[in-house]
């Protein structure tokens, strides 16, 4: 292929400079920017496609299905799901995983009502609309966890309808973890036998398996399916994620799809074959010990950020086992300089591996300086 013309080259160079610049100021989104996939560059020369179920043969053989199955096996192990029961695939990101989970719940319980908290990621509203499933939002506590009493009362009223519960395992803004064991307890108390729990564990799904005292998570805690992002904690230049569920459930859905002449059990048709390769490569390079160290350091930097804010009297806080540090919305000047996502009166930084103590210092200093300027 010819070299790009000077204009195209200049455009690409400018874009790269812009991204380099932005990367230095990215503290508010849960995307790990510390990765190196240069070893995989040669694979960009091929048309790869993971169309179909990774656990079934595909006529399109330029795929990474075998590697994808290894990735699923590793996530299944992290989520305490027995290998022989594990099914899943590498998704385009957390939203597809959440859609798959709710779709699965809806297929198993067509008359079910989806319950989710006010702090659930906005994309769930899109999913519920697409799937046209009945749904009730439950209010959250101030800390972002679901209000269990409101959940209990609302389920009690509708207890003849199956429950499809969407749990936040690390909510978007506050990093809150809904207590799945407690939700299971509520279902037991109310004698609700037809229930399905899907967990949105986009970020914390890769944190909790590596901490000493995790909040309840995993299939042994009551998950029926879980969505975990790949481009968040693991880090990946292409958005991706993993959805995991139980093989028995998928068999039921697969049969229903077979009925209309399609054997595919995944939501999309063509699927990315590079992202499974990248996730697999990340696991190979870091290993479980590497992830454990990475998570420990992220949590240490998060605590450091809380302490730095505290030094200046800024009321910052974080949940146990969370790398999301919540603080009052900073002045507009700070948000122009740094990439952060405010919501109402609060904002957060997320101490992903590329967020260093030096970046935290600079960020906190900017917040304090601009606040002083405002006050003056």
């Amino acid at each position: 292929m010819n070299e790009p013309n000077p204009l195209t080259r200049a455009h690409l160079d400018a874009l790269k400079r812009e991204f380099e610049e932005l990367a230095q100021r990215q503290v508010g989104y849960p995307c790990n920017q510390s990765f190196d996939y240069s070893e995989l560059t040669p694979f960009l020369e091929y048309t790869l496609n993971n169309v179909g179920d990774p656990f079934h043969d595909s006529n399109f053989r330029s795929n990474t299905h075998e590697i994808e199955r290894e990735v699923i096996a590793r996530f299944a192990s992290l989520m305490h799901l027995e290998q022989e029961q594990a099914w899943g695939y590498v998704t385009s990101g957390g939203t597809e995983g959440n859609m798959y989970g709710i779709y699965m719940g809806r297929e198993l319980f067509p008359d079910g009502v989806v319950y989710f908290s006010q702090d659930t990621h906005y994309s769930v509203l899109k999913i519920l609309r697409v799937l046209n499933v009945r749904n009730i939002m439950i209010k959250s506590q101030e800390n972002g966890e679901i209000d269990y009493e409101d959940l209990r009362e609302t389920i009690r009223i509708h207890r003849d309808a199956p429950v499809i519960f969407m749990a936040n395992i690390g909510s978007t803004m506050k990093g809150a973890v809904d207590d799945v064991s407690r939700v299971r307890g509520i279902l037991d108390d109310l004698a609700v036998t037809n229930a399905y729990i899907h967990a949105d564990a986009a970020l914390s799904g890769m944190i909790l398996p590596f901490v000493e005292e995790p909040q309840p998570y995993g299939f042994d805690a009551g998950f029926d399916s879980v969505s975990i992002s790949g481009h968040k904690l693991i880090g990946c230049p292409l958005p991706c994620g993993v959805v995991l569920t139980k093989r028995d459930y998928v068999a039921r859905i697969a049969r229903s799809i077979e009925y209309v002449g399609v054997l595919d059990t995944t939501l999309p048709g063509s699927r990315n074959a590079l992202t499974p390769l990248m996730l697999w490569y990340a696991f190979e390079r870091l290993g479980m010990d590497g992830f454990r160290e990475l998570v420990a350091e992220m949590l240490a930097v998060a605590e450091y950020a809380v302490e730095r804010f505290d030094e200046f009297g800024v009321p910052a806080w974080r949940h146990k086992n969370s790398v999301t540090v919540v603080f009052p919305r900073p002045p507009a000047e700070v948000m122009r300089k740094w990439q952060i996502a405010p919501l109402g009166d609060i904002a957060h930084i997320i101490t992903m591996p590329h967020v260093t103590r030096e970046m935290v210092n600079e960020f906190v200093d900017d917040c304090v300086k601009q606040k002083h300027k405002q006050t003056a």
Binding site: Q118, L125, L128, R134, N135, I136, M137, I138, K139, D147, E149, D150, E153, T154, R156, I157, H158
Partner: protein
């Protein structure tokens, strides 16, 4: 006609800002209702061009959504939503969706859709429907 729901801070001139943003684009406001609780509130409006109005408001920095739902204002207290749900359950009307739009100063604004809109409206008589 789709309604547009905007969550706003209760600041002087916010209605004027919304009106100006729409007027500058020659969009007419046909109805406007405001509900303020403490520092925050909800502005509900209908215009002659709902889709374009939504874009204009979003571009002007407002947090605006379209919804054909009924909006009710409830005391933000334990079981308040459940009580509404119970009323529907007893009447045999299925709630299709129930979403909290915002909570502030002891109140919650809630968007609700049901499988029988007429019955739902009747059930909500006596509630603070916006």
């Amino acid at each position: 006609m789709n309604r547009i729901i905007i969550t706003v801070r209760d600041e002087v001139g916010v209605i004027a800002d919304i009106s100006k943003a729409l007027a500058d684009e020659n969009i007419n406001i046909e109805a406007l209702n405001t509900e303020v609780a403490g520092e925050k509130g909800v502005v509900i409006l209908t215009t002659n061009e709902s889709d374009r109005a939504l874009r204009v408001l979003m571009n002007a920095g407002f947090r605006a959504i379209t919804d054909e739902a009924m909006i009710i204002r409830l005391r933000d207290e334990p079981g308040a939503l459940a009580k509404v749900a119970e009323k529907f359950k007893i009447a045999g009307v299925n709630i299709q969706s129930m979403h909290i739009l915002n909570r502030h100063a002891g109140y919650a604004n809630v968007a609700l859709t049901a499988d029988d809109e007429a019955k739902a409206k009747a059930l909500l008589e006596g509630e603070d429907v916006l």
